[in-house]
Symmetry: C2
Amino acid sequence: MDNKLLVVGTMAYDAIETPFDKVDKILGGCATYIALSACQLQVKIGVVSIVGEDFEEKHLNLLRNKHIDLSGVAILKGEKTFFWSGRYHNDLNTRTTLQTDLNVLTQFDPKVPEGWCDASIVLLGNLNPLNQAAVLNQMTTPPQLVIMDTMNYWMDHFRADLDELIPRVDVLCINDEEARQLTDQNSLVKAAKIIQGMGPKYVIIKKGEHGALLFHQQEVFCAPALPLEEIFDPTGAGDSFVGGFAAYLSQHGDISFEAMKSAIIFGSAMASFTVEKFGPQNLEILTHEKIQKRLRTFNQLTKFEIALT
Amino acid sequence: MDNKLLVVGTMAYDAIETPFDKVDKILGGCATYIALSACQLQVKIGVVSIVGEDFEEKHLNLLRNKHIDLSGVAILKGEKTFFWSGRYHNDLNTRTTLQTDLNVLTQFDPKVPEGWCDASIVLLGNLNPLNQAAVLNQMTTPPQLVIMDTMNYWMDHFRADLDELIPRVDVLCINDEEARQLTDQNSLVKAAKIIQGMGPKYVIIKKGEHGALLFHQQEVFCAPALPLEEIFDPTGAGDSFVGGFAAYLSQHGDISFEAMKSAIIFGSAMASFTVEKFGPQNLEILTHEKIQKRLRTFNQLTKFEIALT
């Protein structure tokens, strides 16, 4: 397995309000978070996305300097980058979207660059399922693993397109409420089984501060979230999680269930960094040492010995 | 450390309605669940409680046959046993109390039998803090570990008594919402720190289907709940959990943080059995083999290997 990871998703500017602070314009978009999380490992990352003329060179360079290939990012002259604005409530678990300016996104026609049509892992970031499918359709070599993230918006408005795409996916990654909505089941165990019946062999259910569950056949793995004293900004946590997950599998050239367990822990570590600062700021300044220290913390958080006879 | 575990708590009859079924009268009470959970290990268990004349001999024998010492259980002639009735809603996470007949509980004046005043572990089950304190006051040898379970009702109506008791407790065990209520903090990490400041060196925060967190100084341990397809009746899950926790420490004669991690997993396994059937029925028929199998499942649920450099 080569270690090419192809990512499709949004690049955006966000305005974010939390109980602690607010920012009017900060780098955002799921592809941005995924790439900034994935680039912490030794993986070749290619991004397929679209931005407007207002997308700043310094932000493109930020990604390029981390060896993220942006040849699949279209820059539309005279147009504006996707803009999202939201306010998090006091518990930081719920948010209100204040504004969504799709801008260039309405014209998004993803083009996979030639050198990326054989990527071994394809990560379909949270996006219109038609855009996600368009990327899969361009792969000349079938990817070894297709990972998809999605959310309730696409279930509400693009359900038929989503239903057509899900059978082509190996790992579906959604949050608990969305799993319940997608399957009309309250039990997450039942929901995961129904989703597996739709096609994906692996189902990851994200539970925010309660961690994540990974389902495969009859097996379940339960990953904790790091208990944090303060969450500054949850934006991008799920994207950082799935980006770290995909990168770990890609770096290790291993897509087994056992590897996925470790990959989920790595993704959880990435998410824990993201929420500690506004936007993707913390991912931008991560070091190998900080990551190793955090992974040791995750080890301590969950390891136990119990006497079995 | 001897392995005497002294438990104070209610013995009751419950009427329970869930979306699946209903029972008009089933054995209940926190001391019952705690004892039936703890007796799965090789531990000497003494119960301090009170029942009415209506409490059936077969239920006393059920406990006695499991070598649970009931010499601390007062039986009040002409009086009725504590009765609780509740209805669980569709998600099984919330319930409505339909009826609470305190009956004998209003006359409860706990008496610790002579042979139990030197128990090394005392578990104060969810109960009026004055009753809990009365048990501690009768210990002639200071226990090595005092564990207390409590709930929002006592915070609402007996806060001063609770505040007086908490500093005498080593391990406080409460659920997430109650931790927030007790400390007026949304972050569970902050809440746990505040509780530690009140006296208890260890804080266990129960999160239901999301597992439990154990805090000690700067350390945290995160235990999963077993993802179950169907929860039949959540009644007694928290009591079974803390009963299993205390029994594990008692059996191993070890009250270190490391031992508590294993003890929490054992408690979680007991809780997972309890919710699979109505009332304490599943605890009554548990076998060593079933428990070992469940513990192996917990191992598989959380074990991962991650490359650290």
